[in-house]
Symmetry: C2
Subunit: 235 residues, 2 copies
DNA sequence: CCTACCGATCGGTAGG
DNA sequence: CCTACCGATCGGTAGG
């Protein structure tokens, strides 16, 4: 019986790949073609949706013949899952780094939220960043098993936001329950995928500024709060 | 060029509606089956996406045979467009009514926004309201021609929000540029389609309350502003 | 609205 | 990774 591991690991382990007698030195076809397939799949899944994209489309976009994607991925669904997982892992890595840097710099909760928002916009709207949008808008195309794996990563991602929002709530800058507020805020950001156009008007920084102004209240002296004010006793 | 007959003979002779000789009394199969198809299509398009739903799925859900949908709609795409158009028209009708009622009751801009938000949530999250979610999440499946028709309706829908948001901005309750704020706010609401579960925790009213608290600032005396304060001279 | 059907396309595979 | 191919499915139609 196959397990999820089949989807994550290229089958270089058990059965030896049949057709690779040549080019033991040259590694350019090892991960490169796989990466090219992932990038092509991400772009097309985002533009056309998963079901409307054929494996032939993806193969052609990666410069291959129609059957070749199945040498790298065992199914079209495995390709989708790989795109989504790659998207979530890179987003998580990025936000973890941002949060840690914020901590070392002793930034206010306000400034920390700004970091999270800006990084989120970057991940969604940066050129070539199609992986996370695919995850956001194609999750219903995943079987339940794999959706659960991703839900774990998404939950980890959201957990980066909660303490910051809780601090802002305690400080009076966020006047809404933290749980629902997080859903609404992330929704506002995620929806930007639908309308943002880098060639038009606003930049990612404009978006970040506007989002911060929209969601947070000035709250007295604003960002110059004493550093212990936002901490709850249990922190 | 006209002939004599065209001028002299009443035009009942020219083209008589061809296909309705039977059942002049009984109208039950006129719109009913069409409506059943639309409802089934909306439900399935929402759950599975347009491309992943087959016309056979839809036919079965409406209790028909596989070829029968094409008696009512000339293509699968026409079915999608009809679902979306129906969704937008009903949403527009509903919001127009809400806005007019707000006007007659001389509600504050704050209270007017609440009406808009609540009606928006109802349209998105009410039981059986699959039409608008399909429009929100499947527009890329539409050919450009039809997307333009819908863009017109969407633009009309958004125009109901702008004056209210402008008034709130002028009053200092909304501290963000109106254009971007509207996109972010509608995004926050639209995203609720992805996570809202009527069987869990929050109600639509909870959502509305939270959204209002999140987006608007208390602003001095709050809802008791003089009625001419929010008006710009050009209104 | 049903029956019966077609042409095209698609995910996937065998074998090298 | 390519060539050649298969079985299944799908949107759509003819004719009643």
């Amino acid at each position: 019986m196959n397990t999820d591991a089949d989807l994550l690991v290229p089958d270089t382990t058990a059965k030896r790949p049949r057709g690779r007698p040549r080019k033991t030195v040259d590694e350019r076809d090892d991960g490169n073609r796989r990466v090219a397939l992932l990038a092509a799949a991400a772009l097309l899944f985002r533009r056309q949706g998963f079901a409307a994209t054929t494996t032939r489309d993806i193969a052609a976009a990666a410069g291959m013949q129609s059957g070749s994607p199945f040498y790298h991925f065992k199914s079209k669904g495995a390709l989708l899952f790989a795109v989504m997982e790659e998207g979530m892992r890179s987003a998580l890595t990025r936000q973890h780094a941002a949060v840690q840097a914020s901590g070392h710099a002793s930034l206010s909760a306000h400034a920390q939220l700004r970091q999270l928002v800006q990084a989120h916009f970057d991940v969604l709207l940066g050129t070539g960043n199609d992986f996370v949008p695919v995850m956001l808008y194609e999750s219903r195309s995943l079987p339940a098993r794999q959706r659960k794996v991703l839900a774990q990563l998404i939950s980890e991602y959201e957990s980066l936001w909660t303490p910051v929002l809780t601090a802002l709530h305690a400080a009076g800058e966020l006047r809404a329950p933290v749980g629902l507020a997080r859903l609404l805020i992330l929704g506002a950001l995620n929806w930007s995928v639908q309308w943002f156009d880098p060639k038009k008007g606003a930049s990612v920084k404009d978006l970040t500024d506007t989002a911060m102004a929209l969601f947070l209240k000035p709250c007295g002296t604003d960002q110059e709060l004493p550093s212990n004010f936002a901490r709850s006793p249990t922190d």
